[in-house]
């Protein structure tokens, strides 16, 4: 009999076989008979009137078969579509473009080369209009209005906390520190871009839509809502999300190209494929972050934090196209009180329109947690330095204590469990903190620059409880359906969608743990809305907290059924049965046994008269609370005074994500997440000039780290299970991306504080550091 491989087993991944043999099935690998290609003419301007569109030359190219413009879509009222944040965005413009690379005309042709020829031959005449790129300027009176359908560039204003109470503690504080912190616009840059293949069957009025989606069920419902009036009815829409080459939040939004492909398939009666190239992906798909934060922190005379204020401007580009839960326009940004015990805080955020691509996706981040963690961890470090206290000791003094959990934060989150002291202590032991501080002092005496940076973050993931969390009204539960076949082998389907997280392995392990069926005999399926139960998808580290919980609960329903069958077969009372890994035995009679395989077989062949046959269960899990993973990271850097180059010498990451289902996969996610924290901290940024032109629209200038730049990660763990999750797991995918950036920034500032440097915005590039060294008289010059 095969090994069960339940919780805690680092079994090798089931999904690997196809990926290592070139048999993955990604969107661009799909091909259908009669398939045509769609490509898109995009705007070179960030804001311009469209004076004319001339497709006549393009139409003469052999193989170019058709065009779609905004005016074509307007006839069907399909030129606008809703965003998941409740705003709307153009599918194609009628007369004005609002950001560079905006879609203007769709070209359909026989193959991808001809479609590109067609795009090149379409002539669009523009009249450039004034551009607003800076969100602060966008809020000034008289600023160019980005949206004609809105009163102003302010999308929303959101506040949380006790303003008066916070003001009062700031008045009485012994130390107040303030800083402007910018979290730059970045891009998920998954290795696979986005794309789709729309296949409209005009006879049966059936749409099969293959698409790179982290949330296929939401897509189906959105398609039905957008195009219901032209005959797309939800029972006739099948969304299939195939293997995804990474997602990280970028494959949650619905992009105009998807709607265009569907429209083209309906209009031309052929399957239509649209695959964006890398430049389109970087320039037009949803970006992440772009938060301008004014942060303040107050401490009393003993160095206890007593209050926090943040005033933030959130740049959403031309539309609020984030996928945030509807009640939280700034997501979970108010987790910003972090790992610290204080009760007065106040935050306000203004969402702003600018002439930049729409978005604000939760890039490997549970809705603005990255921004929150960066702000609080930078401020705590500034406070410690300002007061002349060691940043580690300062954190230890201010942490919420293990015995205070469950802990109600100043801004209303109930932290489920944690032991912050233990995690930081372990990280300090692993890195050799005391010795590093000695070394730093010696080096500083010799004029060498070395820094030690700490980040002790608290995450908030697993959205979410139905009373608080919904996206366009859809409650954020998730689901699992388990069917066990007569021979004791199972298939389980979920509302989530793996993008590399390893669901085919970890979900099987959860069910294996609960039912005793070996994980290798449990086939996991996701992404086909015709077969999978409804769920809101995979992002915000929600798969394990929601669908993973649903798997455990559904499996427990089946174990209850197995118990009834066992009592029937063994002729005993249900209460007299003891469960042991994969079998029931009668209490006191270990030889009177029925294994799960025997019990499942009996569910089809010999079950009690008052029982339904078969062995299936479904559960839609509504989490009672969010989960709160945490950790402490310590980064050690050396800085070259001649170049400003920052070298990461060590990076120790202690993560606590509660119960670890597959430790190998958890560790792999931490490595990857840390690298996606390193990237924005040290390398990546989407910059725009004053005219709204993107610098860095290819991988030659948007600097994704290679194996050479990426630090060598050292990981450690503590385990503090979630008290409310069925298996105690919290979710881990995002913790390292969220927790790592401030560790880098704090390390760099730690190296430079004695020179008078208080803060440096990420990405911390060599030129930026060299400029700081020059400004503070510490640069070595030729």
């Amino acid at each position: 009999m095969a090994e069960i491989h339940g919780l805690g087993s680092s079994m090798k991944r089931k999904e690997d076989a196809r990926f290592i043999q070139g048999k993955g099935n990604y969107i661009d690998d799909h091909k259908l008979p009669g398939m045509l290609w769609l490509d898109i003419v995009r705007s070179p301007y960030a804001h311009a009137k469209i004076k004319s569109i001339d497709t006549s030359k393009a139409a003469k190219i052999p193989g170019v078969l058709g065009f779609i413009t905004g005016k074509d879509l307007e006839k069907y009222n399909l030129h606008w579509m809703p965003t998941l944040a409740g705003d709307k965005q153009m599918v194609l413009p009628i007369d004005t473009v609002k950001y560079q690379s905006q879609e203007v005309v769709a070209v359909i042709a026989t193959d991808r080369y001809t479609a590109a020829d067609g795009v090149a031959a379409v002539e669009v005449e523009y009249e450039p209009l004034p551009v607003v790129v800076d969100p602060h300027k966008a809020l000034e009176p008289g600023a160019t209005k980005v949206r004609d359908d809105k009163e102003s560039n302010r999308i929303w204003h959101w506040e949380v906390g006790d303003q008066d109470g916070t003001e009062a503690v700031f008045k009485n504080a012994a130390t107040v520190v303030k800083e402007k912190i910018y979290i730059p616009r970045i891009h998920v840059a998954s290795m696979e871009t986005c794309g789709c293949l729309a296949d409209w069957d005009g006879v049966n009025k059936q749409l099969t839509f293959y698409v790179t989606s982290q949330a296929p069920h939401i897509y189906r419902t959105v398609l039905a809502l957008v195009a219901g009036h032209v005959g797309l009815s939800e029972e006739n829409i099948r969304v299939v999300s195939p293997d995804l080459g990474g997602g990280f939040g970028g494959k949650v939004p619905v992009y105009p190209g998807y709607v265009l492909a569907v429209a083209a398939s309906v209009l031309l009666g052929h399957p239509i494929k649209w695959i964006e190239d890398r430049s389109e992906n970087l320039a037009a798909d949803s970006f992440a972050r772009d938060y301008h934060i004014n942060a303040e922190l107050a401490a009393d005379k003993d160095g206890h934090i007593i209050g926090m204020r943040m005033d933030t401007v959130a740049d959403h580009g031309y539309s609020d196209a984030q996928a945030a839960p509807s009640k939280f326009p700034a997501g979970m940004f108010h987790i910003a009180t972090g790992s610290y015990d204080f009760q007065k805080a106040f935050m306000k955020v203004d969402g702003v329109y600018t002439n930049k691509p729409p978005g604000g996706v939760a890039y490997r981040c549970s809705f603005r947690v990255t921004e929150a963690v960066h702000a609080i961890e930078r401020m705590v470090d500034i406070m410690a330095h300002e007061r002349g206290e060691d940043p580690a000791e300062f954190r230890m003094k201010n942490f919420i204590k293990a015995e205070q959990f469950p802990y109600m934060s100043a801004l209303g989150w109930e932290y489920d469990s944690g032991d912050y002291h233990k995690a930081l202590k372990l990280a300090m032991d692993m890195v050799g903190y005391a010795d590093l501080r000695k070394e730093q002092a010696e080096k500083r005496a010799r004029g060498e620059l070395m820094g030690i940076g700490i980040s002790s973050f608290t995450e908030i993931v697993g959205a979410g409880p139905a009373h608080q969390f919904d996206i366009i009204g859809l409650k954020m539960f998730d689901s699992c359906e388990i069917r066990v076949h007569p021979t004791g082998k199972a298939v389980a389907r979920f509302g989530t969608k793996s993008q590399g997280q390893g669901h085919e392995t970890t979900y099987a392990q959860i069910i294996a743990q609960e039912l005793g069926i070996p994980a290798e005999y449990i086939k996991i399926e996701e992404g086909d809305t015709d077969t999978a139960p409804y769920g809101l998808g995979t992002y915000a580290s929600r798969s394990t907290p929601t669908a993973g919980a649903a798997a455990a609960v559904a499996a427990r329903k089946l174990r209850d059924k197995a118990r009834k069958i066992a009592a029937h077969l063994l002729e005993c009372a249900e209460e007299d049965l003891v469960w042991d890994a994969d079998r029931f035995h009668v209490k006191g009679s270990p030889t009177k046994v029925k294994t799960i395989q025997e019990l499942v077989f009996a569910a089809y062949t010999n079950y009690p008269a008052d029982m339904e046959g078969g062995f299936e269960a479904t559960h839609y899990y509504n989490p009672p609370n969010l989960t709160y993973p945490f950790g402490s990271y310590i980064c050690v850097v050396d800085i070259d005074r001649g170049t400003g180059q920052v070298t990461t010498r060590r990076f120790v990451a202690v993560d606590d994500c509660g119960t670890r289902i597959n430790p190998m996969i958890v560790e792999g996610q931490i490595h990857g997440g840390l690298t996606q924290g390193f990237a924005p901290a040290m390398m990546e940024e989407m910059q725009y000039d004053a005219d709204g032109n993107l610098y860095g629209g290819t991988f030659m200038d948007y600097m994704v780290p290679t194996a050479v730049e990426s630090p060598k990660w050292e990981v450690g763990e503590t385990v503090t299970p979630s008290p409310h999750h069925p298996i105690g797991a919290k979710g881990v995918g995002e913790s390292p991306t969220v927790g790592a950036p401030p560790a880098f920034a704090n390390a760099v500032v730690d190296a430079l504080w004695h020179l008078g440097v208080r803060h440096v915005d990420i990405p911390i590039t060599a030129p930026k550091v060299y400029a700081l060294l020059k400004k503070h008289g510490a640069a070595l010059e030729e």
Binding site: D28, Y113, S190, M191, G672, F699, T706, A707
Partner: protein
């Protein structure tokens, strides 16, 4: 656009085709021959997802024209395993958890094999530099380095 007749051996099988002069090798392999294990991740030779071996050297097939491969011998990820037995690099990627979404994996493995062919005993730094033309967004590279070390060991024996 001129059309050219080419013959290319891919994973031991000879293919004849008439192709446009501008057709990229990666599209020839993927679209014309339906071998979709070789991926496209960028358009600027930056990511390496399209790496294949052309006449024994690792090349980025998004930056090679199909006509340039005329008379050439190509190995793609589909040709790594022999008679159903995985190549040591494939084993290494599986054993060391060196892949997550799997999209960069074929190119990463093809570059790794080319690296090990030229340098059977690479140091960690040599592995990292050897793979610096391939981007991975999921793994953070730690485990990819281990997978290459695993394969290096295995290929010695």
């Amino acid at each position: 656009m001129s059309t050219h007749h080419i013959h290319v051996t891919i994973n031991g099988t000879l293919h004849h085709a008439d192709v446009e002069s501008r057709l990229l090798l990666v599209h020839f392999i993927r679209d014309n021959l339906n071998m979709t294990g070789t991926h496209i991740g960028c358009d600027s030779s930056s990511c390496g997802a399209c790496t294949v071996h052309l006449n024994g050297r690792a090349v980025k097939s998004c930056t090679v024209l199909a006509v340039q491969a005329n008379d050439g011998e190509i190995t793609t990820v589909e040709g790594l395993a022999t008679n159903g037995a995985l190549h040591p690099i494939q084993e290494g990627f599986h054993q060391c958890h060196a892949l997550q979404c799997g999209f960069c994996t074929p190119g990463m493995m093809m570059s790794s094999v080319a690296l090990l062919t030229g340098n059977p005993n690479p140091t960690e730094d040599e592995i990292r530099w050897g793979l610096s033309g391939n981007l991975c967004r999921c793994t953070g590279y730690n485990n990819i380095v281990k997978a290459v070390q695993y394969a290096a060991e295995k290929m010695k024996s």
